[in-house]
Every structure is written in structure tokens, then in C-alpha cells.
Point group: C2
Amino acid sequence: LIHRLGTFADLTEAETRALLDVQTEIRRLGTREEVIHDGASVHGVSLMLEGYGCSYKLLPDGRRQITGYFVPGDLCDTGALVVDRSSQAVGTLSPASIGFVERDVLRGMMDTFPGIRNAIWSASIIQEAVSRQWLTSVGQRTAYERLAHLICEMFIRLRMVGLTRENSCDFPVTQAELADTLGLSTVHVNRTLQELRRDNLISLRGRTLAVLDFDALQRVSMFDPSYLTLGRLPIRTPDQLAV
Amino acid sequence: LIHRLGTFADLTEAETRALLDVQTEIRRLGTREEVIHDGASVHGVSLMLEGYGCSYKLLPDGRRQITGYFVPGDLCDTGALVVDRSSQAVGTLSPASIGFVERDVLRGMMDTFPGIRNAIWSASIIQEAVSRQWLTSVGQRTAYERLAHLICEMFIRLRMVGLTRENSCDFPVTQAELADTLGLSTVHVNRTLQELRRDNLISLRGRTLAVLDFDALQRVSMFDPSYLTLGRLPIRTPDQLAV
DNA sequence: CGTGTGCTTGAGTACCGTCAACCACGGTGG
DNA sequence: CCACCGTGGTTGACGGTACTCAAGCACACG
């Protein structure tokens, strides 16, 4: 379960075994709990094992911008490998379990196992690319396009770690959280979601998202999945559905 | 001139000497030229030596989001250290000269000189933090606040590399480019700049920006400079003006 | 002196935010 | 068992921020 980290780099057996050994301190958390406070001192890296999380910045007056989503296999705050202070808060979006690895331990592993080093670097570069896409969305795309783009991205990311079934997946994000993600109001998120449903692109009831027409979603949002795979073909696609 | 790279990590003399030796291939460019194409294959890292640059993403229909500014001393596309394909375009905003270092050369230096490795890592972590701030701006701040925040950030960044005099600096960015940066239209940028001038916060004529009331700019935009310095005090502030 | 680029201005509009209420659902406890 | 409450979703009315279109201006350059 844990070595999904290796999605983006080919690991040797010794490397995966080393990864399985290192596991320390697993925390189980509920919905909407803060994992890392903005500006807190950190001495290691967190790894999403189960559930969904997000990172965010808070403005002094209460406004919030969600800066990233974490799905199982994602590293939270890779910057902690270098700096001892977090520059954003991290919280959960659903019940979750999160592993924690000491900075020194992880850096040691990166030094001895080049595969692990590449995997972590690649993962952090993909997160940067995602962040740029989000900036492009919020800056340039309309509300309709933003939602479509985010849904495309999340569906592909979840599919890459095997958390989709046919055309549906678990998506516990509330409309208020979507609003803080996309720079919209909850009311407008609600109305835009209704448009997407009306156009038969998605269905979203409770915490279950179904992608009814991926091609159309991709077209209207100008979604190009290559930024999620570093140009390589997705290595592990445990299920069907053409991209 | 070149070793301004060392702003965020203490380098030994041997390390700065090594940096000065490595210099290869300097390109001189005019205004608004493309340095790296989005998706191009890259085999090294570019370093801004003189002038201003930016990175950006283009949507198929022509819309553009500028994702970062580069001032002298900034590395463009540190991701090229790991991946061989750029995930955004890089261009100039003014006449500029840009140095280029082969990936293998730089990685070699990072392996032998821990100070250089830390400097590059720190620089790239700061760029990530800036990118998050931009996302927060575009997602949550009003046009007025966005402009104020960007001006605060750029003024501090320029001051950190000694490119300000008293309260003014060179700022050759056009209003159209500001619009693509902040997710606004040029017309609205123009009107918002007029508001900032009317409120006696800045003056901006030609390519010269003067910060008339930094405290007020900082207050209205909720600018917190700590993300530019990794919590450390800015080491080199060659000139005056309290933050 | 014409041309191009960047800045400025006005009018009209659309997208999206705010406010306020209401509904549906699940959980809790009396 | 059902009133009660909280959360999340939905709806309507209204207003404002910001966009589009279009024109005019200033300055630099060849």
C-alpha cells in the first residue's frame, strides 16, 4: 500500500523493501483536522496513506486559499526536507491516516537509494506542476472550466493510484472547500456544478463523483494530463477507461 | 555579480570560486523573447544574470498566465535538474542576459559542495512559496490587494539583490503583463494602478516604480515578507529603508 | 511624419459575490 | 420515537467587481 510512492520512478526491490521498513508513527485523523500549522516547525515529511488532505494558506482576515490536494501516496510538504519551518498549513478533507518520516531518515534513504531520491524529486516536481495549473485555472479559466479542470485532474490522479472504479471515485470535498480551492463563492460553485450536471458531464451526490463524459470535460477545460506524468505514460493504470 | 545565488545559504570561499569557474554560455536577449518553449526538452538550468524574465503557461485559445517573475540571481526552471522536459515557458520582460549551466555540471557541484546544494534547494523552495502566494492572491485578494501585494514582493526581492535605490526600482513590466500575472484585464489593471497612485501608495511612470508608502501597501495587501527569506532575516540588505 | 506600442478613458454588460432564506439529511438525546 | 440541531446543499434577489468593446492619446522610433 505504501510504496505507491514508486509510481513515478522504477524502484529496485531493495529500495521498496527499505521503504517498507522505515515506516514510523502513523496518525489516524478525522475530517477537517489540522495536521500541520502554517509556520510550524517541522522535522520531517508526512505521507498520505489513506483518505484525502489539502494544504492551504490563511489570510489574517479569515479568507482561505487551498493550495493543493493530497491523495493516498502523496507527500505533504516536501520542503520540510530542506527547511525546518512549514510555509503552509496542512489539513484533512476526510478521515485519513498519515505517516511521518524524520527528515534525516528520509535524506539518508535518498542518499543511499537513487531510485528513492528520483521518486521523491519527481513527486515534488509534479506537485509544482499541479500548482502552476491551479494558478492558471484561477487566473484564466471561467468557473465552469475551473471545475471541469479540477475534476479531470483529480480523477486522473486517483486513477493513477487505483482509487477509481470504472468512471466513479470517492470525492468527499464539500462545496465550500471547492470554493476555497477555485477562488469562487460556495453559491457559485453550487450553480456551476449544476451546469456540469445539466450538461451530463458529471454526477456528484454525497461523496461519490462519477465522470460521465471525460472527453467533454477535458475539451471544455483544456485539460492536458501530461503534467501529471512528467511526459511518461502512466505506468500503472490498474483499470480501464481510455484517457 | 553571479554569486548572488548565495543570498540564502552561507557559501565557503571554495564554493563561490567553483561557482565563478563554471560559468558557461551567456545569452543576451531583447525584450519579450522566448527563452524556453513550454514542453521543450531541456538539459540544464538557466540563471538570470541581468534584466527581468518570467515563466508562463499558454492555453490553446491564447490566454496566458504568468506563473513567476525572475530577477537577477534567480534560477529559471530548477525542475530541469531532475526532468528533461520543461513544464512551462520562460521569456524575458526586458533586455536580459541569461547564463546556462548543464544539468550534469550543476548536479556534480551540488554533490561536492553542500553549500551550493542548500542554496539551490532553498532558492527553489522560495520560488514554490512565491507561487503559493500568487495563487492565494489570484484566488482570494481583490485587484487592489493583488497589485499591492505584488509590488511589495517585487520590491523586497529586488532589494535583496541590491537593485533598489531608496524607495524606487526598475520595473519594466507592462500593464498587459501585469494583467496576465494577476488574472485581470489590462483595463482593470490600469484603473487599479490609478487608485494606488491616487492613494499615494506608489508612483509608476515609464519603467520606474517608486514605493511611496510601503507600510500601507503591506497593510492593505496583507503582505508578510517571511516567505521570501525562509524565516531567516535577509542577510544582505545593501541599502536602507526599514521593512 | 507615419507607425507601433503602451497607456488611458467611457459605456455597456456579464460574471460572480453577498445576503438571506430554505431544504434535506444524519445524528443526538430526551 | 420524534423533536432538535448541525452540516451541507440549494435557491432567489440584488449589487458590485471586473470584462469587453471601442476609441483616443502620448511617446519612441525609423
